[in-house]
Symmetry: C2
Subunit: 297 residues, 2 copies
């Protein structure tokens, strides 16, 4: 299969759904809603919704258009986390995906509220009840709970708190791994789990897919660390060497570049191994795992 | 009935439930989880959860302990909104309920994450599926959707965005009313609506209770404006005259103090009128409406 074509097709599917979902701005709220759309439409790779779609497909289920709000909620959450992470009080980044970060355009207050609005909007999308013929209420609640846990204080938010606390301080490898797992891994795994619930996974399939999610989450973050060390700003669309600037611990700092690359390959291999019981329908998931290793931004 | 005793009893019930719900901190996340607890336990009046409980009671339903997470989610959301509103980039407040605001203790990044964590935690609480014998999944989804809409970009978050945009600018009475309705009214109405769903309201009862919620939301905000003009910092537990400092439009600025007071009384009266079809079980709701008018902080 051709992963690039697959990614392009799915990205378009996600982006069309996203633009149709955002509320129409009233004159008063134009600027605020513009600030949400600005970051949501700033050209992300849409990895999380695509993982969700590919997981459902691995289980033999194409995601019907009426369930796209659930899939899009994952991107709203990811975008909110980027907006808040970029804030001056956090990582203080001026560029993201080659464009000025949200607060550079809408100011700090505007960016905080854009993030708050997107996070809340995600739960609005997740709790729609008009497609219960396709997704039973109980399954929908399980998705909401799974995502809320993954992105909360013991997940993504906690990971960012640990990351902030670790700045300018030497930390252990265990702490670095915990930050990775919470900050990046949790939402990636939850995206796969959401797809698993949409695709009506059995308990055994759910576990296998969770392992897959954990492994690619790890691979994703290791590659992020590598790109930060090796990449140029043009490739990254953000300032390279940002981690070193903030004296953040990274995989290459612990293991050197070569061994780090080996660890990323290992994680990708484990991800693919976890899919052993799946047939050709899981090929996109396998290719996505490989893509995460070879991606350059 | 003795409203003070009622409020004290319900406040204790809410606070006990709240402390039992917060996740136990791991050593790594101690500081972050402490920052959530700090603001959550900073002595609020718990108006929103109490409104929710009183509404269910008005319909003849005591809220069973296993549904208290739903009620407590309202307080988590209110607390998140206070933490973010107080940030230097927003209203820049150093005191709240007589104590240093979250960012004065945990820093700006810490406070942003405390708010993000509480908002997310609210949806984790709302989406628990272990009490479906007491609250059917469909009703629970309706509560989540109702709350998410109320606090999102067309509700509370949008209200704060409008409030920020209106700083240092003359605005119309219509704009002020819209800010009030979104910023404060929406969550108060949603709290009443949550109680209405928990209490199995009929459609007609739901509408009447929604009107009640809208009216007390309005009364609440008008009284807030009055207290800001008239109150002392000691009474308020925050800097008085804060609205004037930020050149924010208020009801007294439009109508003068006496006419503003009359408008608050009118809103309380409309709230009580909306409850005409309810019997003595709605007495706490009626008293709560009166209490909102007479409160001094």
């Amino acid at each position: 299969m051709e992963i690039k074509a697959y990614l392009t097709e799915k990205r378009q599917q996600v982006e069309e759904a996203l633009s149709s979902l955002l509320p129409t701005p009233t004159p008063e709220l134009k600027l605020h809603l513009e600030s949400l759309a600005y970051s949501l439409q700033a050209g992300g790779k849409r990895v999380r919704p695509i993982l969700c779609l590919a997981t459902a497909e691995a289980l033999g289920h194409e995601c019907p258009p009426r369930l796209m709000p659930v899939v899009c909620a994952l991107e709203c959450i990811h975008t909110y986390s980027l907006i808040h992470d970029d804030l001056p009080a956090m990582d203080d980044d001026e560029l993201r995906r080659g464009k000025p970060t949200n607060h550079m355009i809408y100011g700090e207050a505007g960016a905080i509220l854009a993030g708050d609005g997107l996070l809340t909007f995600a739960f609005e999308l997740l709790s729609q009840t008009d497609a219960s013929d396709l997704l039973p209420d109980r399954k929908r609640l399980q998705i909401i709970h799974c995502i809320a846990q993954a992105i909360g204080s013991l997940g993504m938010v906690g990971g960012q708190a640990l990351d902030m606390a670790a700045e300018d301080k030497p930390i252990s490898l265990e702490s670095l791994q915990m930050i990775h797992r919470c900050k990046t891994g949790a939402l990636i795994t939850a995206s796969v789990q959401t797809g698993a619930i949409l695709g009506q996974a059995t308990d055994k399939q759910f576990l296998a897919l969770t392992t897959y999610g954990n492994c690619i989450g790890l691979a994703f973050q290791i590659v992020d660390d590598l790109l930060d060390v090796e990449g140029t700003s043009a490739q990254l669309g953000k300032s390279s060497g940002a981690d070193a600037k903030h004296c953040k611990a990274t995989y290459p700092a612990f293991f050197g570049v070569e061994q780090t690359r080996a660890k990323a390959r290992e994680a990708v291999k484990s991800a693919i191994t976890a899919l052993a019981d799946f047939g050709t329908t899981a090929e996109p998931l396998r290719e996505l795992a490989r893509y995460i290793y070879t991606r350059s931004n």
